[in-house]
């Protein structure tokens, strides 16, 4: 045994590491396994174990790689992890240095989408109660989209056709790539801070899930949720649904559709104006007809045709009312004494006041009618001049010199003859 080579721990560990590091398979692996013991450290490094039914493998993913994960790894998830296996000399154990990881089966983007959707939904970001109504007539519309895309062109064309009264504010942003989510969120916040509009449309034209990804980012979703200005989300084509669509106050299938949902249509407005006009004309016509009917009803009223006769009738009515009242009183006095005793205190008083009321009413009515009567006019010193036939004379031209006339005074009348006619 004395010829035996003696090695230090570090020497042998280093030796093993060298073997492993020079192995073609171990330096470039892709491993399928189930995640367990997943831990994220404050340093940003992720530590976890990959296992199957028979074995387990320690893994580490450093911060720089972990940052690029599109989904949140969870225990129990089956993943494909890529990296190399080597020795961690301090602990004398081998582990997988994982550089990238994706969920098996579904793509990492769709897993990320489902995860974020679940998280934000649980937080209430999609709640109907938080959704704001879209203004009926948007005065200013902010478009948060690319200034180069076909989406902008389509939206401007449709907005111009439908409701050219509104003013469009374009906030140009990148809609794909690493910078896009930050720019879109910043534009949303800016639009709110400066109150540039009363409606926001944000979106882009169609593309792959990767292209549309900015609208699936949490930072964009939260900016939409924060917005006090209503937001219409318009991403991609009809079947594309993004997280932004769920958070927005209204989801449009496409940017063109958003422009339609945002505005009233000029053609509809013109039809509506025409309709309102005809309704006004119709109502006024009805009102005029009613007034004409009311007028003819009033001119034929008896009180105007023969006021004195009307007054006499009212007096007669009053007399007969009082007679009936007297009869009633007699009848009542003939009834049971107790009944009478109970009532006589308050009923006569009520009758009295009722009679008084009627008298007063009748008095004022008589005075008003009296004021209108031709007799009253005469009593103020006016007189009526009549032809011998009895018709009242309104103009001197109706007379000839020497003609007989009758002058009616308040009391009595006189016959006279015309000396001279003086026409104006």
């Amino acid at each position: 045994m004395d010829e035996q080579l003696i090695l230090e721990v570090s020497q042998v560990t280093s030796y093993i590491k060298e073997i492993m590091d020079s192995d073609g398979l171990l330096t470039g692996l892709c491993i399928r396994g189930e995640l367990s013991n997943y831990k994220t450290y404050p340093s940003g490094h992720h530590y976890f174990t990959l296992k199957d039914g028979k074995a387990a493998l320690s893994c580490v993913m450093f911060r720089s790689n972990a940052m690029r994960l599109r989904f949140r790894p969870e225990n129990g998830m089956t993943v494909l992890a890529a990296g190399r296996i080597t020795v961690y000399e301090r602990d004398g154990k081998y582990q997988l240095y994982c550089v990238s990881m994706s969920p098996e089966g579904a793509g990492d983007l769709s897993v990320a989408f489902e995860q974020l959707k679940k998280k934000l939904s649980a937080e209430g970001l999609f709640d109907e109660s938080h959704k704001k109504p879209i203004p009926k007539y948007p005065h200013r519309i902010a478009l948060i989209t690319s200034s180069a895309g076909a989406a902008l062109h389509d939206m401007l064309r449709i907005l111009g056709q439908r409701y050219p009264l509104s003013e469009v504010k374009l906030l140009p942003v990148r809609v794909q790539g690493a910078e896009a989510p930050g720019e879109i969120a910043a534009a949303l916040d800016h639009a709110n801070r400066c109150r540039v509009a009363d409606l926001i449309i944000t979106g882009r034209g169609g593309g792959s899930m990767e292209d549309l990804w900015a609208f699936n980012e949490e930072i964009v979703a939260r900016a939409i949720y924060r917005s006090e200005i209503p937001v219409i989300s318009a991403v991609g084509h009809e079947p594309d649904v993004t997280i932004s669509d769920y958070v927005a106050d209204l989801r449009a299938a496409t940017p063109s559709n958003a422009a339609e949902l945002a505005t009233p249509d000029k053609q509809d407005l013109i039809v509506r104006l025409r309709h309102l006009n005809s309704r006004m004309a119709q109502s006024l016509g009805k009102r005029l007809k009613l007034s004409r009917q009311q007028l003819s009803l009033r001119t034929s009223a008896r009180v105007l045709r023969s006021p004195m006769e009307y007054l006499e009738d009212r007096r007669q009515q009053l007399d007969s009312d009082m007679e009936r009242l007297a009869q009633l009183m007699t009848m009542h006095s003939g009834k049971a004494r107790t009944d009478l005793l109970r009532r006589q205190e308050r009923l006569p008083a009520a009758w009295q006041s009722s009679i008084l009321n009627r008298r007063q009413q009748s008095g004022t009515l008589a005075a008003r009618l009296d004021a209108m009567s031709p007799l009253k006019v005469l009593s103020r010193g006016y007189s009526i001049t009549e032809k011998s036939g009895g018709s009242a004379i309104r103009s001197a031209s109706e007379l000839k010199a020497g003609e007989q006339i009758r002058i009616r005074f308040s009391k009595g009348s006189a016959l006279a003859s015309v000396d001279q006619i003086m026409e104006e």
Binding site: K136, Y137, P138, H139, R140, S147, L152, H153, L156, R157, L159, G160, Y163, P164, L165, S166, E167, V168, K169, L170, L171, P172, H190, C194, V196, K266, L269, I270, L273, L276, N277, R279, M280, A281, S283, L284, K286, R287, L288, L290, S291
Partner: protein, 76 residues
């Protein structure tokens, strides 16, 4: 232009109100005629606004000092 849209909205609201008042029939004949005149004037004004308006588009850009500046862009 935003002002035009505001005028339009206010006019439409007043028009709706006028039609309702006229249709209710609670107003006097004189008032009806006045409302009708006001209504037809408003409706003509609204039609004119719609006929003559052109979409105005401005772009909000980052100025050299970082503050946003507005720039009108020709309608596409």
């Amino acid at each position: 232009m935003a002002k035009k849209s505001q005028t339009f909205e206010a006019s439409m609201e007043r028009l709706d109100e006028i039609v309702k008042l006229l249709e209710n029939g609670d107003v006097s004949l004189e008032e009806s005629i006045r409302l009708f005149e006001e209504g037809t004037k408003l409706s003509a004004q609204c039609s004119k606004l719609l006929d003559e308006a052109e979409l105005k588009v401005t772009q909000l850009m980052q100025g050299p000092d970082g503050t946003p500046v507005e720039q009108e862009i020709p309608n596409a």
